[in-house]
Every structure is written in C-alpha cells, then in structure tokens.
C-alpha cells in the first residue's frame, strides 16, 4: 500500500519535510505514523495530535487504502 503523508506546523519541522510517499505494510493511520517516526526520529505523537484522511478528520486506528492522503496534525492552537 502506498499513501501520501503530509506534515503540518511543528510536525513539518520535526520531519524535515512537508510531505512524502510511504510504502506501508501497516494498515491504519497510527501504524503509518509509527513508520514515519522510524524514518524521522524527531517526530513524536503528542496526546493532542490529530489525524485526517482525504480531508476528513480521522482516528489513530482508521484503516487506510492505497492512494489515501494522510494528514498529521500536531496539537492545534487556533484563536
């Protein structure tokens, strides 16, 4: 399975890039995050981090399909 991963704000700094493609044996958002984390050791999944798939908010156990776009959001701070 190949998915596109996008990093935002502090996650982009931690990963050192804003997006990349990941060939994953994992099947959920959480598993793909762990795979990204092994690639970029600076990346950490804080408690308040969020994830979205194809522009819809998702959970850390949301299943992924080939071609999905996964968005990793560090803790938000609007307002």
């Amino acid at each position: 399975m190949r998915v596109k991963v996008r990093y935002f704000a502090a996650f982009r700094d931690d990963a050192g890039c804003s997006e990349e493609f990941v060939d994953s044996a994992g099947s959920t958002t959480g598993e793909v995050f762990e795979q990204c984390r092994s690639r970029h050791p600076g990346l950490h999944r804080h408690q308040a981090s969020m994830v979205a798939v194809n522009d819809e908010m998702a959970q850390w156990d949301t299943p992924l399909a080939d071609g999905d776009e996964v968005l990793f959001f560090p803790p938000v701070a609007g307002g």
């Binding site: 935002f8 704000a9 502090a10 700094d13 950490h44 999944r45 804080h46 408690q47 308040a48 981090s49 969020m50 979205a52 522009d55 819809e56 908010m57 968005l71 959001f73 560090p74 803790p75 938000v76 701070a77 609007g78 307002g79």
Partner: protein, 147 residues
C-alpha cells in the same frame, strides 16, 4: 456563502458586523481574539498562524451549525486570519445574533472554545529575543504518548 472564512488580510470588522444584522435579533455578541504582547513570561512581537484551510473551513462550518442547533440563535459566523500579524491585530472574530442576550453569549463562547481545540490551526510566536516557537510545544513535549 460560507459563514466560516479564512483570510490572510486584516479582518474587515465593520463588514463582518454588518453581515450579522438581523431585524429579529435584539442581541448581538462579538468576540475578537487579538495578538497579545506576552506569553508565559516572554515578550511577543508577532504571531504567525498556519491554517490548513480545506479542513478548517469544513470543521468551522460544522461548529457554527452546532451552535445554531444547540442554542437556537439566528446567525453565527466567524473569520480566522492566517499568516504573520502584529501586536493588537485581530486574529479571530466570532459573531452571534440572537433574539436575546443569554443564548448569544452562550453560543459565542461555545464557538470560540470549539474553534480553538478542533480546527487545524497552529500558532507560532516570534519573540523579542529573535526566537520563534510553535505554541504548545512545551506542553506537548511532556505529554508524549507512551511508546
């Protein structure tokens, strides 16, 4: 027309307020979030907001719908600014028109509280020292998921 919008310019407050006029409403409550000159003891010079607009707008509209349903107000709208801004500039505005003040205050409070925790928006503070930091990083650094 979207009631939740994102702009990279100065928020047009007069136009925003005019858009909230409604002859059936006896109450109008507006909240403005402004750039403060300090945070956690550090002097702040500027703020920078990064917004993932497609989802911020979608989730923002959802929050406004929730406020209308929950509090029975007539109109609710909000605008958030992205990019770099200086002290005292308005970063976010929320407006609620309602028949009476109680529901207008409650809905306005609900909207700003939800916007802050649900929208994909991140704040970077630029300090007088020349440093810049994503806000919350200090707190999230001590809140890693185990493993």
């Amino acid at each position: 027309m979207n009631r939740f919008t994102v702009t990279h310019e100065t928020i047009a407050l007069d136009a925003f307020r005019r858009g909230m006029d409604d002859p059936s409403c006896g109450a109008y409550v507006q909240f403005e979030g402004r750039v403060r000159n300090h945070n956690e003891g550090q002097p702040v010079l500027r703020l920078e907001y990064e917004i993932y607009e497609p989802l911020a707008v979608k989730e923002g509209e959802r929050i406004l719908d929730e406020a209308l349903a929950r509090y029975g107000v007539e109109k609710a709208a909000a605008e958030h600014r992205g990019g770099l801004m200086g002290l005292e500039e308005v970063a976010v505005v929320v407006g609620v028109s309602a028949a009476h003040r109680d529901e207008a205050f409650a809905a306005c409070r609900y909207i700003i509280d939800e916007l802050k925790i649900r929208l994909p928006i991140w704040k970077k503070e630029h300090y007088a020292s020349g440093e810049a930091r994503w806000v919350n990083c200090q707190r999230c650094a001590s809140a890693h998921d185990p493993g």
